[in-house]
Symmetry: C2
Subunit: 182 residues, 2 copies
């Protein structure tokens, strides 16, 4: 027994996240994940049961809006943009979701849950308007996912070249309007 089972489990999870983020669901094979983790493919099955379940474990995600507390109304847009950009950079989780959500129905469902279940309530709270929150959340999601797509997946050169401040300048007013326009 070299390691405890929890240790190897998290090693596998880390490798899985990287592969799913880089290759998408189908091209991220259990064998390649196991190779990255320097572990036998059979161990992946033992600990996670199936590829589908491994993916489910790797795609756990929290937008962490708790970190976004007190913001004056007129700076909401800029702060949201900055928060999302940090989320994109922080870990592979959002990239996992975007890469896989497009071919894997489970991931798409997860995505809907996250943006409807985490973003919409936060917007409702910040704006004090629960009725319009789902629509606003959807618009914000569309814009921020579009930027993530262009910057991290498709790698459009102009978007890749922008600094965080550039992006805030471009996107801030857009998000501000989606959040607060009547």
């Amino acid at each position: 027994m070299r390691r405890t089972s929890e240790e190897t489990k998290s090693i596998i999870l880390a490798a899985a996240r990287e592969r799913f983020a880089a290759d998408g669901y189908e091209r991220a094979t259990i064998r390649s994940i196991a190779a990255d983790a320097k572990i036998d493919p059979a161990m992946v099955m033992r600990y996670f049961g199936s590829k589908e379940k491994l993916f489910a474990a790797a795609a756990e995600f929290d937008l962490r809006f708790d970190a976004l507390a007190e913001v004056p109304r007129e700076r909401l847009g800029a702060e949201f943009v900055r928060h999302f950009l940090r989320q994109w950079e922080a870990g592979e989780s959002l990239q996992v979701l975007l890469r896989t959500g497009i071919t894997n129905d489970g991931a798409a469902e997860r995505m809907r849950e996250i943006f409807a279940g985490q973003l919409a309530p936060k917007i409702a709270q910040l704006t004090g308007d629960p009725a319009s929150a789902p629509v606003r959340a959807a618009m914000v999601s569309a814009q921020m996912l579009g930027i993530g797509l262009a910057r991290y997946i498709l790698e459009f050169p102009p978007v890749v070249a922008m600094s965080e401040d550039d992006l805030v300048t471009w996107l801030g007013p857009t998000i501000q309007r989606y959040l607060t326009a009547d």
Copy 2:
């Protein structure tokens, strides 16, 4: 000789576009495409050489900006939004690109070509500012791809529920700013 080769070729192409749009590159198998077209898989190979080449043929795309001619400057945003939405609805081509561009490098490259090669020049022409056109094109692309993603791929309920007019109301000012802000 039941059909001419050009006929079967276009039957295969149509089936391929549908499958690629619905399933993405990896899950759209040659066998499933052939089955849809009611044709032997070997014919697909004979006419297109390989799956990669079949995909290249299926992913030909033209944003058709020729249809967008004379627009007063202040209505540019709304007209662009409408044009893009029509492109999304018209055929599967944009959905093919988005579904596949995320796992297939060739498709991602194609996507960059299209938006840098077709959208940016049109913007340069309409705004008379070639220097900033690539950045504006990238921002417009990000927003419109994000909406396509949310509406047609991930199917966020609020975005699916919106009418074309609703979308123009939300997106028009955004695109207008990306096109004309200094």
